[in-house]
Symmetry: C2
Amino acid sequence: MSDIDAFAEAALQLLGPRGFTRDGDIVEPWLTDWRGRYTGRAIGLASPASTSETAELVKLCARHGIPIVPQGGNSGMSGGATPDDTGTAIILSLRRMDRILSLDPDAMQVTCEAGVVLQSLHEAAAEHRLRFPLTLGGKGSATIGGLISTNAGGTQVLRHGTMRAQVLGLEAVLADGSVLDTLTPLKKDNRGFDLKQMLIGSEGTLGVVTAATLRLLPEIGGRAVIWAGLPSVQQARRLLLHFERAAGNSLEGFEVLPKQCLKAVLDYLPDARAPLAGEHEWHALIELVSGPDGSDDLPDFAQGILESAFEDGLLDDATIAANDSQAEAFWLLRDSISPAERAIGPAMQHDISVPVSRMADFVAAALPAVEQRFPGSSALAFGHLGDGNVHFHVLAPGDATPGEWEDGEGKHISAFVHDLVTEWGGSISAEHGIGQMKRDELGRLGDPVSLALMRSVKQALDPRGLFNPGKLLPLAQTGVKP
Amino acid sequence: MSDIDAFAEAALQLLGPRGFTRDGDIVEPWLTDWRGRYTGRAIGLASPASTSETAELVKLCARHGIPIVPQGGNSGMSGGATPDDTGTAIILSLRRMDRILSLDPDAMQVTCEAGVVLQSLHEAAAEHRLRFPLTLGGKGSATIGGLISTNAGGTQVLRHGTMRAQVLGLEAVLADGSVLDTLTPLKKDNRGFDLKQMLIGSEGTLGVVTAATLRLLPEIGGRAVIWAGLPSVQQARRLLLHFERAAGNSLEGFEVLPKQCLKAVLDYLPDARAPLAGEHEWHALIELVSGPDGSDDLPDFAQGILESAFEDGLLDDATIAANDSQAEAFWLLRDSISPAERAIGPAMQHDISVPVSRMADFVAAALPAVEQRFPGSSALAFGHLGDGNVHFHVLAPGDATPGEWEDGEGKHISAFVHDLVTEWGGSISAEHGIGQMKRDELGRLGDPVSLALMRSVKQALDPRGLFNPGKLLPLAQTGVKP
């Protein structure tokens, strides 16, 4: 019996048939990331039912030298949950661990297992007239563990921060199978290093998140959703500052998109219509919310802010959604940009950020720079202006061959965009993480001091490199022989 | 020439006479913590003028094997900035590095060197009609670097979080003299581990913080300060929940104190008077604030919340400060508890936290438990109920001998309190840190998995143990021979 077979038999013994399988039909869907960019191989799929089973499995893997690829909803954007093609690793799925363990409405805290799906958490909070203030497109599949491991963002970061800001405590299995448990939330605790912070955003390379305690907020009383037309992205930045000053804590989101994006969406969605008459170079989608008791004043409040913005010449035109379904229609336009664009043809997509104060100038400078350097390509930027985070997409020339273009000119375009954003003091990964997709680019452009420090931490916490090898860390081990 | 003399000569060469001194008269004040509990010895006092000087000094110390004790305002509460008594270390003062490097009013961000005093930062922000939302008693001496290294709290944590929540980026010198620079603030940046989080709260054991970028907030428009009389601490908890629900983001502080504390303060401050007529078992000091444009409605808003609290039977009596000077007078009562108590006699002070939802029950159970176990002592608790953080003080019996009592029965009392708080799932250090004062208690009561992980991180980042030896980490090296 090979070492791998011996391991597999022991894993089956430990987890039972529901907890460990090598059945190709069951394992196969989890070997490819949801975008279909990466496919790997694996010894099998482990799905422990509890933290203690996870800890025992990690110990077993350590004994046999088996690498572990943790996986939540498999809806990540950077291939961080897909194994490499050596077939020497297991996929450790947390999806069976999907219980909400406790919810304290007074303390506004929820403790849940890592496999709880974001949408389920939203629903559990809503039952108590509370809300979890983070959402994103993949909410029907993304799990809490995955969201923590990638420090996920979304459309509410402007007001509520990324996943890091929501995590009050967590539980994780470490490389030796010990369990770090900081689930009991203390608002103030200065007993040394805040160890949970290391796990958040570490993409499964330092430990396996098994549970978390998260903050909740009171449900929204009302919301006002505004669509504004603007002459330039710099003007959008001025409008953002105006809203930040005037709306304060009520400002929940501020998204921007250029006219090309709106056109692509209107072509793509048969029933959609433009919120404003006339053509505008840029558009802003702005959401204000009020607390549970403050819904009555919100429309007047929003109207007042808009009127002063008009008086200051900050926008061309704007409209406030008349009701909830119109508000949803506005957001649908924003959320449909990615599929609409995919329908047009191949594109290189970049999830980048620069300092908020430089975002508008960066976009204005970078779009023509890319199009000039790569004739025939068409660059556009949209997204979270309030966070300095813009999705920067470059569409292939009309005569490009899909597949070939991405691997050829597309790679040069990405390197060019990453060089640009680095020059501007920005990040080559604003919210999607590094995974396997950007690992080499991080090695090329990352700060050497930061990279050395990350490698030291990785070496200290996972000296044998068994947690998610080949992800995140440039030059990390890509597999360990048993 | 001894190794130490050779080091000192090289340090003088590097930093000049303003930057390095062995003059006893100059060094001596910094060898004792401000509370006078700990006194150590040192080779000398290094005061570099820049990050690059600090980096060169750290390299020099590494070459000579000289331990480094970083020090800001020397106003810490746990002896974390005081060297041990071997005299083999240097004090590295950041106080000369006190420049505000930039302040961006639009982005509401400030970048400053580590030696900037908190009060100066408040003033710099106020010039731009902004504020830095963290304050504490030592604001006239506490430095930004020290506040970051101890993850300082204060009276605004309920609404704005600890220092960790204010830090957008930082710069630190690492053990090999390399400089980690994350000063450029990106709201979203998922390029791997968030390394700055490791430095925050690490009490100078992992690196020397040399600069930081911090968030600012709009100045306060108005505030309403309420003093309430209550029958019990449990009732104070109910009142807190009422205010959290009704006031939402306006709730800036919620402090509690028992009648004994108020009496001690009234005895101590000659001109002070009780805010309410009649006697109440417990008192709450509540502050609501409004944004720059919202000051007009605040008194009515506060009055409305109070009235509904009365209707719900949540309090005995309450008053709203009629003007700013009365508000200051209310806060002076709160801020004078510590000196008032010191005037009474010796006391063991404990800076502890438990989960917010259990705080009131903990206080109600722990106070009599201590007094029963240590007859003649008198226990009281006051502080930040909204954060689950209470300053738990035990006063010596009237016949105790100061000095002797602290080192004898006092130590047993502290161990008893720490045992209790650990049983309740709490922290033996809510906001003051571990330093040298609680290092052994952390070793005794800390979670073994957390301690092992902290030691791994320490070993990875400072393998020779030259950064602040003997602090924070139980069993850390207490000195390295050159």
